[in-house]
Symmetry: C2
DNA sequence: AAACAGCAGATAATCATTATCAGAAGCAAA
DNA sequence: TTTGCTTCTGATAATGATTATCTGCTGTTT
């Protein structure tokens, strides 16, 4: 993904374009991992030594409010971020906390579940998330 | 649910029986809400004024380790607790944070999703949770 | 190029959760 | 019932992630 693309996306959302925002968004868009704010900060620190962790947090909030990324939690008390807007299934390692995408298209099944939940609930349902918990390949030894 | 029952459940798990543990477990077993540790503490404070929030946290950890309750997170950074061991669907209000059970039996759909995830993932999957996010009846005005 | 609004970075505050430790209580055996 | 050991509770403090504040700087528009 080119800088120009990210810049245009930000502009379209009415957001100012800054090097930090581009870097943070690209960091998320360029990985299939689901990094925490701390991880994003560490990965960008060598390239942008002056960028603070606080800025990472605030930028992630801005990007989430703009609908460019998603924030979610698993079982620990750390937020994780994902630039993939499509609904999908996350696998969470019970030991090391790593989060992976489960490959495959779950759109149909998720839509069916969603429809049933909408029918059974008095909530105004917007979206849904499915998390499966287990041991990742490394942690199962 | 009688005290004697809860006491027996605790004993069967090899746990000591204390008034605090009985009260906290009953508090969870007697509600369909999904209280936070703070909420449990407040609800029991009138009856057990000396019980500390710390004890609530530690007891909830013990009960979870024994498999009597479940701990989960939604979209905020607060843990919620549930005495219902059966897998089911939670509805989370995006505005007030309240969590409700979605009525209905989702066992078949969840099992199908689980099977597909197990087949597609290299994780050793233990259990899964489905959260649907939206506005609760009160917050949608 | 200038001026304004919004952003980045440093610092400190907040909040939920967990650690520590001394005293109290549950449990088993005598 | 009492003793003794072990575990639990409660008070206090520590931790760690996240957010608030404020000042100087930067992106944007004219």
């Amino acid at each position: 993904m080119k800088d120009k693309d990210v810049a245009q996306i930000l502009r379209d959302k009415g957001l100012r374009v800054t090097p930090q925002r581009i870097a943070i968004y690209e960091c998320l868009a360029g990985t299939t991992a689901h990094p925490t704010a701390e991880t994003v900060y560490q990965q960008l620190h060598s390239k942008y030594p002056s960028m603070s962790l606080n800025t990472v947090y605030k930028t992630l909030l801005v990007l989430e409010a703009a609908g460019l990324i998603q924030r979610f939690t698993t079982a620990d008390s750390v937020f994780r971020y994902d630039a993939n807007p499509a609904e999908h299934v996350h696998a969470v390692c019970l030991k090391c906390g790593r989060v992976s995408d489960v490959p495959g298209d779950f759109g149909e099944e998720l839509e069916r579940l969603r429809a049933k939940a909408v029918g059974n609930s008095d909530y105004n349902i917007r979206y849904s998330t499915l998390l499966v918990y287990g041991l990742c390949p490394e942690c199962k030894r």
